[in-house]
Symmetry: C2
Subunit: 495 residues, 2 copies
């Protein structure tokens, strides 16, 4: 009998948690000039059927000492508007999940996903995009967290242990059967059975390759960029991303500075060996094997993107990320075609709002790198749809991370991609940003080789449970941090 | 000195207004099986600078007897989730509009629009799509309503009286300059200067051509469809839309029934003359000149849409509306190509979430009919972007209406399209649904020729002000209708 046998979803709490990252310039880019990284955070409580809901509603995530099984999920925002996502999460959970038997949900997670996206009235305010989809992600991911905890496995391991037939049942195919059918998906999962156990062991031993964005925010001055780049080299990173698009002259200077450090053999800590030729092919790697990427966060129109990136081509970025509006499939295709002669690829996806948008990016050959987001797509199920399509179309997946909680989430997704879908990470790198991990009960971390450690805590689920004290202190606007003068008077930290 | 001189936006109220349309089957289709037509309704109050905000916040839309100038806007939903849109409207107005000088906003409505869509933190939860965009529409439209009222003109007339140079300043071009430039837009507005006054007079005299959806909801039985079709013929309509996609056999029967009535010369009231050849070309009109359209409300995948519509081709619909996911530009293009040999066009747009999606629908030649929505696009400004692109790409615009308030809104938009942009309505028809107009202070209506009357009230603005009693009675969940037993016990009306 599993830990969740006979339980229903009996109660929930939603928390508007905001961290004052705008004080330090963390997370700044050409579009997002002030960011308070925030989580619309959901806790699902379970109890035997008929248990009375707590009255008044719970205000903190674990004020019930007896909690038999609890699931955690969140969606990510950058500050204002987090309250709107919280409102949407409450509407979804209140209307669709309360009272449901958890084992019945776990027995077909595909159906559970459909339940959450198919309410006609809530669908109208998307459909499957924006606030309601962000909220759906929090609910779906909390369900998966609950599922993994009930089985005593980290999320990635729960999924990796599913059979191909079980996996295919989890995948939403609606609106994408012209790109991938359930039969094709089954074949992909079946093909990935070969070598699966070895890949699981490899991941536990070596971790998953990562790149760092921590050094390249717009709000950092040159000295800080240089210092953080050297620090990242020392941590074992060899892929570095820089924010661009606010000023061409500044970008040339900052990108030159970055390249001058990472291309200099004398800067390599301990005579580190460059990555293998295979892993850097097509990535515009410099003489030390290091790779640089740039990210414009949607600031340009199509022709502006092309013109600007031609100016930066001499600095050989591997790809330009989010050159224009995330909805603009044909625009991305035009940009990719124009930049091909300059050996600059196109990456996008952190704002790609559903599997239909990714489908078209792939069909139109508009991207080189597929950047899924763990909570802009509606959780694990829809991520599987996109991983499968990327595999079929021969594109690599490098998930979006950073913010708060995204690194915790996405390591699971890259492990699933490698173990169950793509069976390769030859060219993949997973974004790493070293912020705010201290607020999580099971924080992810990077090993000495600049790789994500695979989460192994049997109780950690999807790794997204936050410390109760963090939830309380940073709840907006009534948590102790936001109530205190601290919120208005704290000086920029010397991050 | 205008009525708004020196005033600032001093206060606002937001109302979750829901009408119990699910009781009658109004608004039902293959996707939306129960709809309570709802408005997330915004009232903007103005006052001289320094006036204190009402405490507690206003609970009814016009409890201030002295109101110097008030603006009304709304976004439309179908029930649950309306509260989320209300939350988003509050966040937008609270953060971005309160305290602003209204004449300064009116002096450059393009800049006012940018102000509302460019907050980096609120942008993140779209961007420019879903709940935050629906909310932006309510705010933008309330501003336009305020602007029109301050000038003593209906909205369409305010816009029609702008010079081409003023108009072009109102248009958002971000992300669409690869499809239309400000210079091209200016040229379109300038070209439409010829004959403008005649078109204004024609519209006031004759009204704008309409089609009816009132007869064809999924929830209606055959007798009701027949009765409402005859009633629509008597009202002067010659374009009829039917909902399809729930059952092929039912659809064949219902569509045959509809055609049998509208194609029968004996059914034509008073020996009415059929429309001119020009107006029906390419519309699969029957022997009496009547045209039938069908609407699937996104229920199909791409190949399902093609297969299903081939089965209905013998009933000669002019177009299939929303055959698949609204985001799927390439899917619509594939469907359109496959149905071309069957003389069935493709229409979409009521869920097309922003100008970037419309841009691609046009670039990919994916649609025959562009169906803008007055409050899914972010208000009048973004509608202008799409009208301009449709004109450039040679497509006709037939706005989405129905619901609650949409007919009130869109008549203004079709008049603007005809008078300022396209300069033709030879093939256009504007959706008409005869529901809920009784709740508006300036309701739109249909003349004896089955055409929308042009709104002429000098005080009517954008025609979206609701009766105070309607807002109070249908406020959810505390209005008198929802509090009373009526909400649970009312029998389906014999609509």
């Amino acid at each position: 009998m599993s830990a969740s046998s006979g339980l229903v979803i009996s109660d929930y709490s939603v928390h508007d948690v905001r961290f004052p990252t705008s004080l330090t310039g963390d997370g700044t880019d050409a579009m997002n000039t002030t960011c308070d990284y925030s989580a619309a955070y959901l806790v699902l409580y379970t109890a035997p059927p008929g248990t009375k809901r707590s009255q008044p509603p719970r205000s903190t995530p674990s004020d019930d000492a007896s909690k038999p099984l609890t699931g955690y999920g969140m969606t990510f925002t950058i500050g204002k508007g987090n309250e709107i996502c919280c409102s949407a999460i409450s509407s979804l959970v209140e209307g669709l999940l309360l009272g449901r038997e958890v084992e019945s949900l776990f027995s077909n997670m595909g159906k559970a996903w459909e339940l959450l996206v198919s309410d006609p009235q809530l669908r109208w305010i998307g459909p499957e995009k924006g606030v309601i989809h962000l909220a759906t992600a929090a609910a779906v991911n909390a369900l998966w967290d609950l599922f993994a905890r009930s089985r005593g496995k980290p999320l990635w391991r729960l999924v990796a242990d599913m059979s191909p037939e079980e996996l295919v049942k989890c995948v939403p195919f609606r609106y994408i059967t012209d790109a991938i059918t359930p039969e094709e998906a089954l074949k992909i999962f079946q093909d990935a059975q070969a070598g699966k156990q070895e890949r699981i062991e490899e991941m536990i031993k070596d971790g998953y390759p990562a790149y760092t964005t921590s050094a390249g925010w717009s709000g950092y001055d040159d000295a800080k960029v240089a210092r953080l780049t050297r620090s990242a080299l020392a941590q074992g990173f060899n892929h570095f991303k820089l924010k661009v698009g606010a000023s061409l002259e500044d970008d040339k200077r900052r990108l030159s500075l970055l390249r001058s450090i990472v291309d200099d053999p004398k800067e390599m800590p301990g005579g580190r060996i460059a990555p293998t030729a295979a892993s850097i092919s097509g990535k515009n790697a410099g003489p030390t094997g290091c790779v640089v990427m740039v990210d414009a966060n949607q600031v340009w129109d199509v022709s502006q993107a092309i013109d600007y990136m031609k100016e930066l081509a001499y600095l050989k970025p591997w790809f330009i990320e989010e050159p224009t509006a995330p909805d603009d499939v044909l625009g991305h295709a035009a940009i990719r075609k124009a930049l091909k002669p300059f050996s600059i690829g196109v990456a996008t996806g952190e704002h790609s709002h559903n599997r239909m948008n990714f489908k078209q990016l792939l069909q139109a050959d508009a991207v080189d790198v597929v950047q899924i987001d763990s909570c802009r797509l509606a959780g694990v199920n829809e991520v599987l749809s996109v991983l499968l399509m990327a595999k079929k179309f021969g594109k690599i997946v490098c998930p979006h991370a950073g913010g708060v909680g995204l690194c915790e989430y996405v390591v699971h997704l890259s492990l699933i991609d490698y173990i169950c879908v793509s069976a390769t990470h030859e060219r993949n790198v997973l974004e790493w940003v070293d912020h705010l991990h201290e607020h999580f009960v099971y924080p992810v971390s990077i090993n000495s080789g600049g790789r994500y450690r695979a989460p192994v805590d049997a109780e950690g689920g999807y790794s997204i449970e936050m410390l109760q004290s963090s939830v309380e202190d940073y709840s907006f606007p009534n948590g102790s941090y936001w109530k205190s003068g601290e919120a208005r008077t704290a000086p920029p930290s010397a991050h």
